[in-house]
Amino acid sequence: MFDDRSPIYQQIADQIKADILRGTLHADEQVMSTNQYAAFYRINPATAAKGFALLIEEGVLYKKRGIGMFVSQDARQRLRERRQELFYVEVVDAMVAEARMIGIPLGEIIDRLRRAEGEQPR
């Protein structure tokens, strides 16, 4: 279920962020409890709690005492901005490096992007 690339709590946090970005989890919607999460993924509740603590620290989730954890109003917007900042470094620069390494001319990529722009109504 989890790879060994990063700590499990980091992966849990990433999954919840992905759910928010995809729109599966909405603003002010309650997320599963740490115990539900732990039982579902067969992980220690303390590990799940670490993931949630991370999200609260980053302002992605907020806590209602005695009730549970909810998605922050501006979580999606903030996550999008952060991911947009990383996009050029992590996705575009990495793609350019890969293309150079295996000999794909950048012009070919640009053509393909143009075609994608034409096909995909945005």
Partner: protein, 232 residues
């Protein structure tokens, strides 16, 4: 070893709060239902409804005789008694023996869910490290009866890594590190190191074209115990 600050050997005070499930559970020769009732009689914290639900999940019928149970089903009865006892200290000593993979996963799921509802101390020993390491908050590694280490699982996981790349560059990089294992494939070398790597060292590794990879608790366990020269 102390339980609650006391020597647990033949100690009625600590025994009442301890549930110990061995690899071959101690079962009175009777039916599943009566074994469960019998186990509950010694436990002030026993939850009989939960015991029955767990037994049903493992496919244990109440009127089945314990003597007729397979090895795996006997273990399943053991790991029914363990969680249902709700004892402040519950010990599972390789209690999974003979259980097939789906039954073991049911056990882990139930254990974690019940632990979430009723937090308490659970000690679980296992040789199947890969399938249980995510359950643990802390890990103790025993080797030949000796305590090799006791660490937070996450800390332990962060301690080990593999360094892979051209043999020469790898050797240079790991010269000052604790190497617990190495493999070679042609000009490529993969070395497992034990110890935390500071961020500047990680950057240095990347700059030298070396791949840093995580290592599983199981691999770490293999490396840490193999090097000690203990008999297998």
């Amino acid at each position: 070893m102390l339980v609650d600050g006391e020597d647990p050997f033949e100690n009625p005070r600590t025994a009442a709060g301890t549930c110990f499930i061995r690899d071959e559970p101690d079962l009175v020769p009777s039916t599943v239902d009566r074994v469960l009732r019998f186990a509950g009689r010694f436990r002030p914290t026993w939850d009989h409804t939960y015991a029955q639900a767990l037994a049903a999940r493992f496919g244990l019928s109440p009127d089945k005789r314990v003597g007729a149970l397979s090895r795996g089903m006997k273990s399943a009865l053991g790991v029914t008694i363990g969680p249902a006892s709700r004892a402040p200290l519950t010990i599972f000593d390789e209690s999974y023996l003979g259980m097939d993979a789906p039954a073991r996963y049911t056990f882990y799921e139930e254990l974690i869910a019940d632990y979430g509802r009723h937090p308490r101390t659970v000690l679980l020993s296992s040789h199947l490290i890969e399938e249980v390491d995510a359950l643990f908050e802390q890990v103790l590694i025993l080797d030949g009866g000796r305590l090799l280490l006791h660490e937070d699982t996450d800390v332990l996981r962060a301690r080990g890594q593999t360094v892979t790349g051209p043999a020469e560059a790898v050797d240079r990089f790991v010269a000052s590190l604790t190497v617990v294992g190495e493999k070679r494939l042609g000009g490529t070398k993969a070395v497992t190191v034990y110890g935390e790597l500071a961020e500047d060292r990680r950057r240095q590794a990347r700059a030298e074209g070396l791949d840093l990879g995580p290592i599983s608790v199981q691999d770490l366990f293999v490396h840490l115990t193999r090097e000690q020269g203990s008999p297998r």
